[in-house]
């Protein structure tokens, strides 16, 4: 079996990030479902939260390559 431990580390890190992204959009969908007029207000917050959580998963991916 080839590869480094970097890949295993990235895989474990991606688990937390995927749950986090799911939670952000659960909150967004719930908010829009309860009050459809809030869609415009919540959308930038949803995208901001998505990018912040996604960043951590991508750190893992990049460091798996670089280190």
């Amino acid at each position: 079996m080839e590869g480094t431990l970097n890949l295993v580390g990235y895989g474990i890190g991606a688990a937390g990030a995927s749950i986090g992204v799911g939670m952000v959009f659960v909150a967004y969908i719930n908010g829009v479902a309860r009050q459809p007029e809030a869609r415009g207000m919540l959308q930038p917050i949803a995208f901001l939260g998505f990018a912040l959580v996604e960043a951590l998963a991508l750190f893992g991916l990049v460091l798996a390559f670089v280190l």
Binding site: P44, A51, L52, E54, A55, L58, F59, L61, F65
Partner: protein, 275 residues
């Protein structure tokens, strides 16, 4: 004819030697794909990403200069586009996030957004095929600019000691918690924020470029292989590459917007009257 075109695509993509598609086993793209040879014999700095940066500066300047030239009340399409982008950042990011006194940051925010977006789009632009923000040096500089701006603005408004007091000792927290909170806040605002800003943009562009490379080079390998099964399965790799290109287009816009938005959030945080 398709195979020679693919071969030239391969040799153009990689910074190192070209891999003959049908002879070697599949060589997965690594971070070496992001190293480029010197164009003129400089010391390693005059490479393709450097030229792309210069090109993006020219493009951004020309876009806003040409869109603001006539300033007629009934805007032409070009002026409408420029005003649309400017207004989007000015209102959605500047006014809504920073609030009072936001006007002096609007030029920086708009330029930041346009500059990052143009550089990101070069990742899927035909002919260029390389997002310049996937070289860590460029996001580092932008994050340092942002770091300098929000720290300087905060220190100008509150004085150096006042700024640190606001940052490390937010009100409404019981006294003993400050022992834990103050170092965390200091490290977070002073050290971690520029690092994560730069790393977020870099990692998104790096990962996106690598994804596209894997599917395109993999598809080329499968198409050039002797095995007929792989030849027939190669269109799926190319279709995935096309789908990922559209996804990358969304991510590039999103990352430019996020960098600008977080810059505004940090500036607003530095200017916030905590009491």
């Amino acid at each position: 004819m398709a195979l020679t075109a693919l071969g030239s695509v391969l040799s153009a993509e990689e910074g190192g030697e070209a891999v003959d598609p049908s002879k070697a086993g599949f060589v997965a793209p690594t971070s070496l794909e992001f190293a480029f040879p010197d164009i003129i014999a400089s010391d390693g700095w005059l490479t393709k990403p450097m030229l792309q940066i210069v090109l993006s500066v020219v493009v951004v300047f020309l876009f806003f200069f040409l869109s603001a030239r006539k300033r007629s009340m009934v805007p032409s399409r070009f002026q409408f586009a420029g005003e649309g982008i400017y207004g989007f950042i000015r209102n959605g990011v500047g006014r809504d996030v920073i609030g009072h006194g936001f006007e002096r940051f609007v030029p920086y925010l708009v330029t930041l957004f346009a500059f990052i977006y143009v550089n990101n789009v070069m990742g899927i632009f035909p002919g260029l095929h390389f997002p310049t923000m996937s070289r860590i040096g460029f996001p580092i500089v932008l994050a340092l600019f942002t770091w300098a701006v929000y720290n300087y603005v905060g220190m100008r408004k509150f004085g150096v000691s006042g700024y640190f007091k606001n940052m490390m000792f937010p009100p409404g927290v019981p006294k003993p918690v400050y022992i834990l909170l103050a170092p965390i806040e200091f490290v977070s605002v002073f050290l971690v924020r520029p690092v994560t800003l730069a790393l977020r943009l870099f990692a998104n562009m790096f990962a996106g470029h690598l994804l596209l490379l894997v599917f395109m080079l993999g598809g080329a390998y499968m198409l050039a292989n002797e095995s007929l099964v792989l030849n027939f399965l190669s269109p799926f790799a190319f279709i995935t590459a096309i789908a990922l290109t559209f996804f990358e287009a969304l991510i590039q816009l999103l990352q430019a917007y996020i960098f600008t938005l977080l810059t505004a959030v940090y500036i607003a945080g530095a200017l916030a009257e905590e009491h």
